[in-house]
Each structure stands twice: as C-alpha cells, then as structure tokens.
C-alpha cells in the first residue's frame, strides 16, 4: 500500500530530509539517528544532482539531430496548440493584460542552478560553502548559459572571517530583460560560494522574496532570510564536513 500515513514514517531520518523539518532535540542527541539522517541527506543531494544531470541531458538536442548552433530545435507549435493559442489570446486581449502580466515575471533563479547542498539542512549548506560574505554588487553580467558573473564589494565576511575586498562568483541563471542581471548593480546581497569548483553560488539579494522553504513569519525578504540562516547556523557548521561530499 502506498499511503502509510504520517505516523508510520514520522521517525524515519529520511522523512526529516524529505520534508526539511529540523530534527527535534531528543533526536539530535541520538548519534545513530543523526548518522542516518546525514546519510539520507547526502543521498538526496546526490539524487538532486543526478536529476539535474538527467534533465539537462534530456533537454539537449539528441546527437544526430543537432543543428549548426543552439541547444534546442526550432520551436514547433502543433496546429491544435496554435489554434488554442489564438482563441485564448483573443480572450485575453480583452483584459488589461499588460498590468496583470507584470507580476508574473519574477525571478526564481535562486533555486535554479543551486548546488546539491541546497537539499541539505541550513548547517549543511553553510558547511558546504567555502565563502559566506555580504556586500554591494559592483558589477553583474549575464554570461553564456544565462548565469550571472557577479563582483561583490564585501563589507562583511562571515566565513572565513577575513578575506578579499572584492569577491567574484557565478550566480544562478537570471531571466533576460530589464529585471535581469543589469539591475543587480548597487544592490546588497549575501552569498554562499560553494566549495565545489565551478558550482553556482547561492544568493540572497535584498528586495527579492525569500526562497521556498524559508520559515513563515519572517519579513519575506531574501537577504533577511539569508542573514538569519547565517546567524542561526554558521557557528554550528564550523568544522563540520560538507555532507554532500561524504
């Protein structure tokens, strides 16, 4: 039977990883449970990595069909879909669509391209970060693949506690257009630069919504949430190995 209900699996370490719920204090003192919990976290991080790899491979044009350039074939819209599009577009045309759609295009890139560590606990995410710092963006530009090359003037080093004044890293892909990378310059952000070479950093930018999974009741601002993540979990993460690498 597929649905066993909460009770049967509530005390399973894997379930805490799946839901992202913090371990209760009594379970945190259970070494065997914590070991299982960490192993499950490492496995789900690997699974997340594999899914990204599989998804990327499946979205790539198969060998033998590849054109001279571009990773996707020209868009082919089936007749039925085109007809539906026309009908729906006609209906929507009667609405003040411009004003409505403005709210649609929101940046959810904080989740895309995030390293597998994102599947881990806050402590795990910080343990997997080589650099944790906050500052003002002095330059940001989209590069191939849509990711953003960011240069940050750091005014607060969290991990390590001292470092270079300027920090460069790759941020997750951003949408093209006015709200893209160009709008980052001058904004304040907190960044978790992963240990893994070439991996994309996790960014918490002021004025953006907190990422999914953020606890309710906060301000909802990404930077504020990033700061609370650091305040709550950085000390605990010090000296701990990155679960995704074990």
């Amino acid at each position: 039977m597929e649905h066993k209900g909460d009770d049967a699996i509530r005390e399973d370490p894997l379930m805490y990883v799946l839901t992202g719920e913090p371990l209760p204090p009594e379970l945190e003192r259970d070494a065997a449970f914590v070991a299982e919990y960490r192993a499950a976290g490492a496995d789900t991080a690997a699974l997340r990595d594999d899914l990204a790899r599989i998804g990327e491979a499946l979205c790539r044009e198969p060998a033998g069909r590849r054109g001279t350039k571009g990773r996707l074939a020209p868009r082919r819209v089936a007749f039925r879909a085109r007809r539906r599009w026309a009908l729906v577009a006609a209906a929507v045309a009667a609405m003040a669509i411009g004003a409505v759609v403005t709210g649609v295009v929101r940046d959810d890139a904080q989740n895309r391209g995030a390293p597998p560590e994102a599947a881990l606990t806050p402590v795990g995410r910080l343990a997997c970060a080589e650099v944790v710092a906050e500052g003002l963006v002095v330059d940001a530009a989209r590069v191939d693949g849509g990711s953003v090359k960011v240069t940050l003037r750091v005014d607060r080093h969290y991990k390590p506690e001292r470092g270079e004044r300027l920090l460069s890293f790759s941020a997750p892909p951003q949408p093209a257009g006015a709200e893209g990378a160009a709008g980052w310059s001058g904004s304040r952000l907190l960044v978790l630069v992963p240990q893994a070479e070439g991996a994309v950093a996790e960014v918490f930018r002021e004025g953006e919504p907190a990422p999914p999974g953020a606890p309710e009741g906060g301000s909802g601002d990404a930077l504020e949430w990033g700061r609370s993540l650091v305040a709550d979990s950085l000390e605990e993460s010090r000296g701990k190995p990155c679960p995704a690498q074990h």
Partner: protein, 173 residues
C-alpha cells in the same frame, strides 16, 4: 511594462528560468525531446486560460508551472509506449556531451538513477521531480497537485527509498 516575446509579440508569461525548469520537468516525466517545445507551450496556454477564466495568476507561478508540467508529462506518458521513452532517455544520457565535471562514475550513477526513475509509479516519479528538481516543498506539491501532504510524504518516502537502493547498489559495484 511587461516583457514580450520577440518572435511573436505575445506576453512572456514564463521567464527563461521558469521555462528551463518546465522543460526539464517535462523531460524527466518522460516527454521526448521533440515534444518539449509543445509541452512548454501547453503550460503557457494553461496560464493564459487561467487568466482568461478570471482566476488570476497563481500565487507561485514557478510552482504552478512545474506542477502543470508534471501533470502534462503524466498525460503524455499514458498515451505513449513506455519502452520508447526509456530508450530515448538512456540514449540521451549516453550521448551526453560537455560533462566536464562528470566522469564515468557520475554518468553511470545518473544512468542508474534514470533506470530507477522508470521503476517508479507515475505518481511517485512526479513528486520526486517536483521535490528534487523543481525544488517545491512538500506543502507546495500537495497544494499544487491537490492531494494531502501525507500522500506526498508517503510517495516521496517510498520513491526515494527505492532510489537510494539504486545509489547504494552503484556505489557497491
């Protein structure tokens, strides 16, 4: 002013990142490469239909789009032969290029996970993709799919336990 799609003049309902995610969710759900553009278009149409119906925008467009894509993939799956999909998936992985950070071990593991995904039920595969690729929380998955959180947890637990076995088997080889 809302951005518009340069080639059609249509409002750009999904940004580039959201489209990439929708495409991947469709692909992971079994939609073949050739049908991915249609699948993305279908998600856009659903969003337009929703707005035209007066239901307004989803509170979380990314989560909504991922869930719609996963449902489209399930519908597609029901109308196609499973075997063909498996062959395409594995063929794509074998032909993958640019895996500079991968190496043979990682590729073998990904292949095994792809096979593991095939062994899951459609409903299990759907929640795995939404949780670990689209980054939806358990609560968001439940809300978007209209099922109880307990059902999502149970499906996830069963599916991930199965996939962990695959991962461990690969490591043991």
């Amino acid at each position: 002013m809302s951005p518009t799609r340069a080639d059609s003049g249509q409002p750009e309902l999904l940004d580039a990142g959201q489209e990439d995610r929708v495409r991947a969710v469709l692909a992971l759900g079994g939609v073949p490469f050739a049908d991915l553009p249609d699948g993305v278009q279908q998600v856009r149409l659903r969003l337009l239909e929703r707005m035209a119906d007066g239901r307004g925008l989803p509170r979380n467009v990314s989560a909504w789009a991922a869930a719609v894509a996963s449902n489209l993939a399930m519908d597609w799956h029901r109308s196609k032969r499973r075997r063909k999909r498996l062959e395409e998936r594995l063929g794509s992985l074998r032909g993958a290029e640019g895996d500079a950070d991968g190496g043979e071990d990682v590729r073998v593991r990904a292949l095994s996970v792809a096979r593991g995904l095939e062994q899951l039920s459609d409903a299990q595969r759907q929640v795995v993709v939404l949780r670990f690729h689209a980054d939806l929380s358990v609560r968001q998955i439940a809300q978007e799919l209209g099922v109880p959180e307990g059902t999502v947890k149970s499906r996830l637990h069963t599916a991930v336990r199965s996939l962990r076995t695959v991962l461990h088997d690969v490591e043991a080889v």
